[in-house]
Amino acid sequence: MRIDLNSVEYSIGNFRLGPVTYSIQDGEILGIGGPNGSGKSTLLRIMLRLLRPTGGSISIDGVDIADMMPRDLSRKLAYLPQNLFSPLNLSVQDVLLASEYSMDRRSSKLDELIDRYDLGNLRHRDFNTLSGGEKRLVMLIGAINQGSGAILMDEPDTFLDVDKEMQVMHEITALRDSGRIVVIILHDLNKLASLCDNVLMLKSGKVMAFGSTKSVLVPDVLEKMYSASFKVEQIAGMSRIEAFPRIKD
């Protein structure tokens, strides 16, 4: 599978995003980073066709997503939102069944995933009564189970305990290794560095840099984006990024 962003633009009020041009290939983890309000979630929502771009287009394997049926699009792209709320008290099981809406239930791996994340005891709980971390795991299971070629994640690490976070990061790597695309918004630069193959950095809607993680997450680029100084070290082949308060002359 291949996702092409062709000069994608979006504007609302004074905010302008783009143009963004980028191709995402099978087996790639693309990280989207940038300060608050830079347009990361907006870009993800445009890719999911939740927002209509004011310019440019997005295609999957050469087909414009604007021309795809909702069911077909959901088989290509799964979404892990930042938060999910069930105002009418669906159970965890009901929420997971909702994520299977477009898929053939025979290919469901729900039981296996629930076992892997040790969530069997939550199955009949009211989804709203779960902790933030438990909700994230349930939503992640739903998104993985959808079986789509790409998963678009909006800060999947929020609220997770350290062990669950490691498990989720390992799962994301495994998804990439099985040939799926993962597009992931992360605030933590070290997680971007350790997890992603490529990154796309946004600031105030503009693409500041994109490319391989090692080429983009360097002090020169980061200092243009954030009001801080940065030091990047390579430890065991991985970038370790430290931020310092910027000292004014």
């Binding site: 939102p81 069930s86 105002p87 009418l88 669906l90 809406y101």
Partner: protein, 359 residues
């Protein structure tokens, strides 16, 4: 009692929901049958039983109600039975309509009347009485109530459209605003014509009543209602998904705008149809889906059928009370549903405030 129901819901095991459905069906049958024993005219229970048995196909002719009991037969078959069956269908439709509207609006305190059905139907009914219209004979009022109800929902829908989509908050606010406007028109007509306001027809219509329902009126309404409820129940998965947010529903492949149109059209048709023969019976559409969720959890796969059953049971019981509370008078049923429904709902909210609906 509610503590045990809440505990039961928390610990529910597979199969228990089916037991609740089975028990609900038995209770509905018992409540509906026993309701025929209640009425202004005393009919000996043995006669009621004989009349029931005499209506069963194939074996009915073995149970004649007896010489001199023909008027009992008329009271049961032509008065009580359509009223009770009317209450069953009206209660079921209001319950299902409430469950669907709450899912579409993602809001536990909405009900079918909030999208303009009640104000539109009231406008049609009061217009028909005020102008003395008889274009469709005795069905003029029902027809106008139905048409105006659908018309007002349509107007609210089109006022809420924003570039091909209906943001649900716009629709809720537009619904409230247009309903207030239409209710003001109704109030103006009633104020301007004191004789109109004092007619019992208007009073009974605005308060809701099943006392005037006949078989001829009920038959088409029953067909529309049952068909709408069956189709709505087929959309329970989509309605579950939309509860989690329209954006999320879109990403799993639900055609959200189409679902909203189908849901709103079917709820409008079925609720307008029942309101056209009963007038405005309040609170069933708000309370009943919550009782269903309390027992079965939030999924519409169970909430829709159980709201139909609980709505039917609730309204038949309210009808019984309406006939017993000031004998030999029959109190409009809408007064009873409000009087039972509001304290019951406040009680439920207090019970649930500890966590069930807490944000």
């Amino acid at each position: 009692m509610f503590r045990s129901i809440i505990n039961f819901r928390k610990e529910r095991v597979s199969g228990s929901s089916w037991l609740v459905f089975f028990v609900s069906i038995i209770v509905l049958l018992l409540v509906a049958v026993s309701s025929a024993f209640i009425g202004v005219v005393y009919i000996p229970p043995i006669q009621v039983t004989k009349i029931f048995l005499s209506q069963i196909p194939l074996i009915g002719h073995f149970f004649s109600s007896g010489i001199g009991a023909e008027h009992y037969q008329e009271i049961i078959v032509y008065l009580r039975e359509p009223h009770i069956l009317g209450a069953v269908i009206i209660g079921a439709v209001l319950g299902v309509g409430g469950a669907v509207i709450q899912s579409i609006f993602k809001n536990p305190i909405t009900e079918p009347y909030m999208v303009g059905i009640s104000s539109g139907a009231a406008l049609g009914a009061v217009l028909s009485i005020a102008l003395g219209l008889t274009i469709l004979g005795i069905y003029t009022l029902q027809f106008l109530a139905f048409i105006f109800s659908a018309l007002i929902v349509g107007i609210i829908y089109f006022f809420s459209l924003r570039s091909g989509r209906v943001p649900i908050v716009y629709m809720l606010l537009t619904g409230i605003a247009v309903s207030v406007f239409v209710s003001s028109l109704v109030a103006f007509m009633l104020y301007n014509s004191p004789s109109l306001a004092s007619t019992s027809e208007v009073f009974f219509w605005l308060m809701g009543s099943v006392e005037t329902i006949t078989w001829v009126e009920l038959a088409p309404v029953a067909v529309i209602s049952v068909a709408s409820m069956v189709i709505l129940s087929l959309y329970s998965r989509e309605l579950d998904t939309i509860q989690l947010g329209e954006d999320y529903a879109r990403t799993v492949g639900v055609r959200v705008e189409m679902l909203k149109i189908v849901g709103l059209v079917l709820v409008t048709i079925s609720v307008s149809a029942v309101v056209s023969i009963s007038g405005l019976i309040g609170f069933v559409g708000l309370v009943v889906p919550h009782i269903s969720r309390l027992i079965h959890g939030g999924s519409n796969r169970k909430v829709i059928p159980s709201s139909a059953l609980f709505g039917a049971i609730f309204l038949v019981l309210a009808y019984d009370i309406s006939r017993l509370v000031i004998e030999p008078k029959v109190v409009p049923i809408g007064i009873i549903t409000g009087m039972i429904g509001v304290p019951f709902f406040v009680y439920l909210l207090r019970r649930l405030a500890g966590g069930y609906y807490a944000d």
